[in-house]
């Protein structure tokens, strides 16, 4: 599965915004583009037709840190993302919600090009981080990934000490200055609200921590390199309510300092911790706006049905 760092095919670069005409499966070519009546949208999506996403003006008004531009992704012959176009605002928390299998993780993993590791993946379209095209063939994937931090659904601490876990990204950059490492370690652990719990056992194995501590350690690791974007893929799904609460508090604290793109299945969490919320369905972006709007007065009935738990 992890055989190559080079994607089988790179997408069109962002320099030219024209819609890609090559590599689109033929079935898509003649799909109707007109907006459907709202109540039929999900049915239309399920039938495989193109549906225009409902993106609120409030989102477009924000300065973006990350721009997803008509992004398509296929696993082999199966298309997992359909023409996703969404800006992610700078220094805000953006939540991705949607039923299981709708492509949230896929979208997140596309941002730091982890999907390059999957051999069967093909993409078209582009993404830009602070204006730099992510899928530009000249883009160094390793440099790119250093600009982002990612936290996974299941805590995945490395088999080394807590200290080494936190400073991992500095270590691979060849940083050996003890003072710098110590400083980064403490700052990141404080940032992840973990410092007080582990400051006396930094040299112990990270695998001996509790699940919630491990997940916060992963967050500390992700913010150690001061990333431009923080990607969180259901960071609380493996945790108990108390640990979840701590992580949510943490996201609150990160708000304003970091641009966070977060996947969650928990509607309360989305409404509590995020500034903006995007609703996805079957690989398509359906509605995207300020969290308060999405949860209180969404434009689409389908979005309301989903966020209130009546379907999905």
């Amino acid at each position: 599965m992890y055989d190559s760092l080079v994607p089988p095919r790179r997408g069109v670069t962002g320099a030219e915004p024209a819609m890609p005409t090559v590599d689109e499966p033929p079935r898509e070519a003649g799909a109707p583009r007109a907006a459907e009546p709202p109540q039929d949208r999900l049915a239309a999506v399920a039938a495989g037709r193109e549906v225009e996403a409902e993106v609120h003006d409030s989102v477009l008004a924000e300065p973006p840190v990350l721009e997803v531009d008509r992004f398509n992704l296929w696993y082999g012959a199966k298309q997992a993302l359909h023409r996703i176009t969404m800006p992610v605002p700078l220094n805000k928390v953006t939540a991705l919600v949607g039923p299981s299998g709708c492509g949230k993780s896929t979208l997140l993993r596309s941002v730091n090009r982890l999907n390059d590791l999957v051999q069967s993946v093909r993409i078209t379209g582009d993404m830009r981080i602070n204006g730099d095209s992510i899928y530009d063939p000249r883009m160094d994937v390793i440099e790119l990934r250093k600009r982002m931090g990612m936290v996974f659904q299941k805590p995945n601490p490395f088999p080394m000490s807590i200290y080494e876990n936190v400073v991992y990204s500095l270590r691979i950059d060849g940083e050996t200055n003890r003072a710098v490492l110590d400083e980064v370690c403490e700052r990141s652990l404080r940032g992840a609200a973990l410092w007080d719990e582990v400051k006396d056992r930094l040299q112990e194995s990270a695998l001996g921590m509790s699940g919630g501590q491990q997940q916060r350690l992963c967050i500390a690791r992700a913010i150690a390199a001061e990333p431009e974007v923080l990607l969180l893929d259901e960071p609380c799904s493996a945790l108990d309510p108390i640990a979840t609460g701590k992580i949510e508090d943490l996201i609150q604290e990160l708000r304003g300092q970091y641009s966070v793109l977060m996947v969650t299945h928990n509607m309360q969490q989305a409404s509590r911790s995020s500034d903006y919320t995007a609703f996805m369905y079957l690989g398509r972006l359906i509605e995207y706006g300020a969290t308060t709007d999405i949860f209180t007065k969404p434009v689409l009935r389908e979005t309301e049905a989903y966020v209130t738990g009546r379907f999905g």
């Binding site: 992890y2 990612m150 088999p159 950059d173």
Partner: protein
């Protein structure tokens, strides 16, 4: 609620039994029990036979109906066998180690119980372990020095023996050492000088300045060595002269007298007089000799130190070769190679290699390492030896080639185990590392390898265990019946990878089945087997200890 529906019948009897799966528990437990019983039985048997070899056993004097008498250790008994139509039976009998090889040409004798008229344990019956011709059983009679009788009667002789033997034996060993080591060293220096002459001749022509200078050096060395040789001759003559004339006469059970020179006695003891403490100290001193001395008498007596040394160094050098190769190969196969028919074919081929009979590797080692690679090295660097006396250096079996052959033999084991260990590293860890901006090699080195290390060690342990016990291929690539020059020793350049060596597993075969007096060597077979098992166990325990340390460092339980 719905009363119309037929009630589901609850079955009982054998169906429940199957569901509980009791028979399967019994079956699996029984299989395990049998396996454990076999392994424990094997180990206990070998340990018992191996450990009892050196324990002093009482000497019994048996007077026979035909007037003969024997003095020996009863080592086995057999119940009476009644005659059948096919075979002739025999009465109950016992196997006696008679220690009368000089008289009968046998070390052991079966004696029928019915033929014994009298049994006794003479207090002064003595076991004499001789440098040559095995054991002698008898009662000390006189101690002689030249024509002078130093002591008479068992007690006095024994006291005199205890007084004189150590000094005499030390002198004998010194003389022997001078003959073997010191003279050997001189010969080696002389040969090196001669090879230098030949080499100079090959390089610069026989009449060249260099060749002439080398010849002059050789002549000078030869003169120097001739003088040293005379000095050594004088020294050995002095030592041997001081020992001359010291002898003990023993009365053999049949009434004769056997004289044994004092410097020909390795040790002697009176098993019927020994107290427990004395027995123990004798037992351990014999173990000590076994572990640290060179073999005597076609390997059937003395020690096995060269074989221990050969086994351990060969196994370690093999591990040194196989570990990096196997791990790197497995890394490429698991982490870098794409998924495709070729990868699959390679994997299948490696698995099949693990099943190739080991003698095939031996043949390959001989044909390729010795005759192609070794001959090539000789041709390039050691031509002088070939020209001078036709002796190959690397072009014949030796420690290096044997280690390489075994490394090849155990490579599949290491590759398969390493691949398994690598694939057990969770992908989430790899992804986490990539997401931090690590490259592929950084991820492998910092995350994958440390995490897989305990599993890799397991593969290495298996490989070492297999390699240490292998005999067949070694016979072709360098193991010898007798090789007292150790492959790793104190003479420059300390490691001699071209030297032939001894190996415990081969020694078992040699002592047990190739020895001219394999009867007498039979107890040794079990002792050597026990030692081999113990050494392999020791190597494994060391590796397991290392692995558990690594495991504690890298993997802790989650939650």
């Amino acid at each position: 609620m719905n009363s119309d529906r037929p009630a589901r019948r609850i079955r009982s009897g054998h169906a429940t039994l199957t569901a509980h799966g009791e028979p399967w528990v019994w079956l699996t437990a029984a299989s395990l029990a049998i396996a454990i019983a076999m392994i424990v039985g094997l180990l206990v048997f070998i340990a018992f036979r191996g450990l009892s070899t050196f324990w002093p056993v009482p000497l019994e004097r048996l007077t026979l109906a035909d007037g003969r008498a024997v003095l020996g250790e009863v080592t086995d008994r057999e119940a009476a066998v009644t005659a059948t139509s096919q075979a002739v039976g025999h009465p109950a009998r016992r196997l006696v180690r008679t220690g009368d090889f000089d008289g009968t040409g046998n070390h052991y004798e079966w004696i029928d119980d019915t033929a014994i008229t009298e049994t006794s344990r003479p207090e002064w019956a003595t076991v004499v372990e001789r440098v040559e011709a095995g054991r002698l059983h008898g009662v000390p009679k006189r101690m002689l020095h030249g024509t002078e009788v130093v002591a008479e009667g068992p007690e006095a002789v024994w006291a005199a023996y205890l007084k004189e033997h150590d000094a005499v034996r030390t002198r004998a060993l010194r003389a022997q050492r001078i003959d073997k080591r010191d003279r050997g060293e001189l010969q080696r220096r002389l040969r090196a000088a001669r090879l230098a002459v030949v080499q100079a001749g090959l390089d610069a022509g026989p009449a060249s300045e260099r060749a002439v200078a080398a010849e002059a050096r050789e002549r000078a060395l030869a003169e120097e060595i001739a003088i040293l040789d005379v000095a050594l001759d004088e020294e050995t003559a002095r030592l041997r002269g001081a020992n001359d004339g010291w002898a003990i006469e023993f009365e053999t059970p049949s009434g004769g007298v056997a004289a044994v020179p004092l410097d020909g006695i390795v040790r002697a003891w009176q098993p019927n007089r020994l107290a427990l403490g004395e027995s123990l100290s004798l037992y351990f001193s014999r173990w000590g000799e076994f572990l640290v001395d060179d073999p005597r008498e076609a390997n059937s007596a003395g020690g096995v130190f060269p074989a221990i040394w050969g086994t351990v160094t060969m196994t370690l050098i093999m591990a040194l070769f196989v570990a990096p190769f196997g791990v790197l190969a497995a890394l490429y196969l698991r982490e870098y190679a794409g998924r495709g028919p070729i990868t699959t074919a390679v994997r299948v081929a490696i698995n099949n290699l693990a099943g190739v009979p080991s003698i095939v590797y031996g043949a390959f080692g001989l044909g390729f390492f010795c005759y192609v690679l070794g001959a090539g090295i000789d041709d390039l660097f050691f031509k002088a030896s070939l020209v001078a006396d036709g002796q190959p250096t690397f072009g014949t079996g030796g420690l290096l080639w044997a280690s390489l052959t075994l490394a090849l033999l155990t490579l599949p084991v290491v590759i398969v185990a390493t691949e398994e260990a690598l694939s057990a590293v969770p992908n989430s860890m790899r992804e986490g590392s990539y997401a931090c901006g690590a490259g592929k090699w950084q991820t492998i080195r910092r995350i994958v390898l440390p995490r897989a290390l305990p599993g890799i060690m397991t593969g290495l342990i298996l490989a070492m265990a297999r390699g240490a016990g292998e005999v067949a291929p070694l016979m072709l690539v360098g193991v010898k019946k007798l090789a007292l020059d150790l492959p790793v020793d104190g003479t420059f350049p300390f490691i001699h990878p071209e030297r032939e060596f001894m190996h415990l597993a081969y020694l078992i075969y040699d002592v047990g089945f190739q020895s001219p007096n394999s009867q007498a060597a039979r107890p040794m077979v079990f002792t050597i087997t026990f030692l081999l098992v113990a050494i392999i166990a020791l190597l494994n325990v060391a590796a397991i200890w290392l692995r558990s340390r690594l495991r504690r460092r890298f993997v802790a339980q989650q939650f």
